[in-house]
Symmetry: C2
Subunit: 353 residues, 2 copies
Amino acid sequence: MHFMHQALQQAALGLGRTAPNPPVGCVIVAGGEVVGRGFHPRAGQGHAEVFALQDAGVRARGATAYVTLEPCSHTGRTPPCADALIRAGVARVVVAALDPNPVVAGRGVARLRTHGLDVHVGPLADAAVRQQAGFRSLITRGRPWVVYKYAATLDGKISADDARPLPVSGPDARALVHTWRNEFDAIAVGVGTVLADDPHLTTRGVPGGRDPRPIVFDRHARTPTTARALRPGTVLVTGPDARTDAHEAAGAHVLRAPTLHEALQGLGALGVTSLLLEGGARLASALYAADLIDEVRAFIAPTLLGAGLPALTSPAAHAPRALHDVQATRVGTDVLIEGFLTAIPRVDARAEE
Amino acid sequence: MHFMHQALQQAALGLGRTAPNPPVGCVIVAGGEVVGRGFHPRAGQGHAEVFALQDAGVRARGATAYVTLEPCSHTGRTPPCADALIRAGVARVVVAALDPNPVVAGRGVARLRTHGLDVHVGPLADAAVRQQAGFRSLITRGRPWVVYKYAATLDGKISADDARPLPVSGPDARALVHTWRNEFDAIAVGVGTVLADDPHLTTRGVPGGRDPRPIVFDRHARTPTTARALRPGTVLVTGPDARTDAHEAAGAHVLRAPTLHEALQGLGALGVTSLLLEGGARLASALYAADLIDEVRAFIAPTLLGAGLPALTSPAAHAPRALHDVQATRVGTDVLIEGFLTAIPRVDARAEE
């Protein structure tokens, strides 16, 4: 397996845990073998390169480091990783993608080269950029990367007319969604879904999984204080005048935002880099109309419903918008179709060649 | 390639041309090589076995015949094919599927065995039964096999709110639909589609293609006499009291049917074995509500529309209905999801073992 692929696998161990930092992985290779592995486990803890160098010990001298993101050149909560690689005597550094953080953005690579290290940028850049979508969104736009996930019947319905949830997708699709919940910083629903379904919004069936932070879009603070989604850390996004005393007493963080754009900026300020939007159709349609959905992951079930609500229910017809980088995969009995509405922010591709 | 697969390919040459007969193909194999090929080209012309035997000549003696459907044992417009195989000295007959026609239904195979031929039933039975779905529907239910084909956006819309057609699917999907039109006896639309779109309902871009018979469901005979779909042979399905003088003068065949069920029985009486339903949503929803759709072929395009009409718009919520034998295929930029609501009529599977 490609060493950079192994570095990406290391980075994935931190997904959903590193905000507002990116998930980063690193492997140190000497004599054609991996001699050190590391990943960034959590903001405030060590960076991937540091753990990998510790793991490699003296074998790092003259070795090649594979890193999923450009090593930092500035002192944040930890000293710059570029310097750690230099000090350890690493001879060559392979970087998947440059850091879009304007504080770094090529300076990490430049610092390594100044100290005589051989640096190669680009392998598996697309996969790395995808893995870092949340960080890249937050650092360049100040708001999380928003993924609208839904399960629809073949005739395009996500629920019956009465808005009661339907088990549209199969068990394999539902299990996959739980692995996503484990990897996203936050999970968002509208108050309609809370009132109709009272969802747990937790990660289930994933070994070592942790729950994403629940975000409830609830302009008039209609969420019952007994709702399962309401727990310490839950963000209640309301209009300016909503009465939220009881919700705050229940541990909710209230984010007052006049517009959806401001709501997402507010979530960004809270360090939320990635948001899994799970419904309902009304919230998703409002975010779509405001051009705030970046990616779509739709499970299409081989089932017909006849009547029901579609995934998007905008009041007026829009021009069709094509997704790009589309992937279609069979997941159990369902078909998962994924694609992007937004290009993930990245540093000029030519610089990454 | 499997000899039965070659026989199915022969049969496919007759698709859309043999009604009310089935498409049937035959290859004669001697010494491990195909020495004769034939298919049923059109009702009233020779059966597949006869053409294949003519093609094989004296090499048929002692050979094996692969036939996609049980050879007939009765004298219809042509003498029984079982007898032709016996007379030609064929030693072994491999049959994909038994004939559901109660006049045959195992008697063709029995007749062959009585005359000492070795008969094996079952290879590629599922593929053969699919290819013969129209014939099997007509012979057992008196009505055509109905396939609802549509192209929807990922958010489940087949057209914008104003019912104007949208180029939802890509060029590869549209080309594939034309190959289907070439293979179906008839193509159906509702009058709403005729009024909004004035479709040609022809087969385009298929070498040797022929046009399916247009069927317009038009209770009150609102189809303009200048509509492109109105040509000699077009069936106008109306209510009992519609005024249709002008349509009949334009060459349309008027089928007066109080219910959709009677309309399909009427089409069956006209010899229509297979019907490709191309919209709109209102006609499809009415047929779906009446349990008259047998198969669905949906192209899902990686595009979002926001607002628009779904593929089915029944007035009331139904229980979800699962499709069976589902296939998902990437077709250009789209995903084609196919599945069945009805089991294709077949003779007891154990008899086909």
